[in-house]
Amino acid sequence: MDRTTRTMPIAKALNESLRKALDDDPKVLVMGEDVGKLGGVFRITDGLQKDFGESRVIDTPLAESGIIGTAIGLALRGYRPVTEIQFDGFVFPAYDQIVTQLAKMHARALGKIKLPVVIRIPYGGGIGAVEHHSESPEALFAHVAGLKIVSPSNANDAYWMLQQAIQCDDPVIFFEPKRRYWDKGEVDVAAVPGDLHKAVVARPGTDLTLAAYGPMVKVCLEAAAVAAEEGRSLEVVDLRSLSPIDFDTVQASVERTGRLVVVHEAPVFYGAGGEIAARITERSFYHLEAPVLRVGGFHAPYPPARLEEEYLPGLDRVLDAVDRALAF
């Protein structure tokens, strides 16, 4: 391991990434509830206010629409605000500002102004939380033109994709897989990153493609390992970006394997899986040996924590879908 590579959890990688962004560009601001002295409820902004001051790492009033609305104003003044929404289920007071203002203002001005605002949202379940702390609302944003949506699955991506999101001149919603915050991985702070919106093959295989993002990449990698013991070779594609989606990489994988299962925590109904299934069917109809299958949440409110293990797609539900796809 060379000295530019260090092992750290995703949470630390995000912290280091924010620190670097604040260091590199005086226009970068961090703002949100409890991001200052506390360092955020997940400590992602730990120590940043101490080092960069209250003017750049801003504890905001407890008002999500206000956070995004004032971030828009700061962006219009030339700043690059990186906002934090404390939990997925708390983003909705800001939904109007995000959808009607942030997403559309660049087009409204016929390109004459830019809105480089990042919205960090810890999302997904698996931490035994109370209601509104475990949701996956990404499809509700991906449906809106003007926004870009990304979600890293590992520490290196967490570090680099956040850098790239902050440098992007469009608004980016950065969904952080909260139950993976403490998963460690190698971060190479010197490696030149690829395209923010490019999907990657996280594990090559020949029999079937599993496409996932954020917290479900780990589940899919585990599923592929188990399947390998049974003599099945599964390819895992980490989508990384949900708007845009790198369909080329998914298509290339599917045309090698002939089968596709899309996995996400978000409800299947109207979810990313449906969009991917439709597009890949259109692109790769004659390569498909089976219909594209989806594994995800149900069309029911996210359940209380004691039921979330049943609700969240785990190893068995993924392998069940793999079996069904291979049975065609």
Binding site: S55, T60, P61, A63, S65, G66, I68, G69, T70, A71, I72, G73, L74, A75, L76, R77, G78, Y79, P93, D96, Q97, T100, Q101, K104, M105, H106, A107, R108, A109, L110, G111, K112, I113, K114, L115, A145, G146, K148, C168, D169, D170, H197, S243, P244, I245, D246, F247
Partner: protein, 388 residues
Amino acid sequence: MSVKSTAVGGSPAKSRAASRGRSKNRSGDGPEFVQLLTPEGERVEHSEYAVDLTPQELRGLYRDMVLTRRFDGEAVTLQRQGELGLWASLLGQEAAQIGSGRATRHDDYVFPTYREHGVAWTRDVDPLNLLGMFRGVNNGGWDPNENNFHLYTIVIGSQTLHATGYAMGVAKDGADSAVLAYFGDGASSQGDVAEAFTFAAVYNAPVVFFCQNNQWAISEPTERQSRVPIYQRAAGYGFPGVRVDGNDVLAVLAVTRAALDHARSGQGPMLVEAFTYRMGAHTTTDDPTRYRSDEEREEWAGKDPIARLKAYLDREGLADEAFYAEVGAESDALAKRVREGVRGMPDPEPMAIFEHAYADGHALVDEERARFAEYQASFEDTTAGTGR
């Protein structure tokens, strides 16, 4: 803690001013307001707010209001003729808009609603720019930074947060500019306006919230929005609020100038409620006869902002027939330019749908653009092929 220090540091002088202003009520109904020119065109003094304008400046305000009204009337006509899809008339609110707009400095920044045609005029925004969205050729389209005049915002109250954020940035930059955020009596019920007040207060942002209370949010009267006069809400957030006669261009100018100076000098936000009246419909699709009386409108017609300034100019001998004729001619020329400009405004090309969806590009937009271009081109081929 911050709210407290804002209140202590910033508000006492203006709070006293506001309460003294109320004691000078001349409207005879409802809470008192700051007035420097009566509906009859009589100049009166106020203990806290004053203006000292040259005859030329006074004539300038008259000219601004007449041209703005003419532009507005022309736009209504163009809508009736089918040249515009919609128009939101400012008729009756000329003093509130010209007075406040003329109070801004070049480096100040304005965040309008969709009715601030008079304010746009004071910021040197080409009136034709305002008409694009109402004709349906764009959704705004002007460069906000050219005149420090943000795009029209249609969703009610959203812009007050943008203004507050912008003002937070001004303060971070150490600039002494101020930001002027427009909104209406209906918007005062929006959560975003409440959040804007909160953020502005706790960060002591240099923003002036300028509420044109034109008495009607489409069909709902102000009593449906608030149980207290709107300017009094500021007190709950820890900054001063003041009500001004919104049909008195001199009072609006004086109060807005003071409020902007207050913000500029680091004393934080201020709320100005311009008490005025929407003489026309909410927009050209609205029918005010369904919800308000002719008597009410007639009563407000007697407080007309232009008539009262003209009465003052005439009383003091500050303008002659040649001046009025000149303004009349200028007004005709503006109307002609607007008419011709709108009629000559081209429809955007179909491919404009995809332009500017993103600043840094987006693969799906690229794909859909290419497919749609191909689809469009297929018609050209068909036409050529049939030799039609």
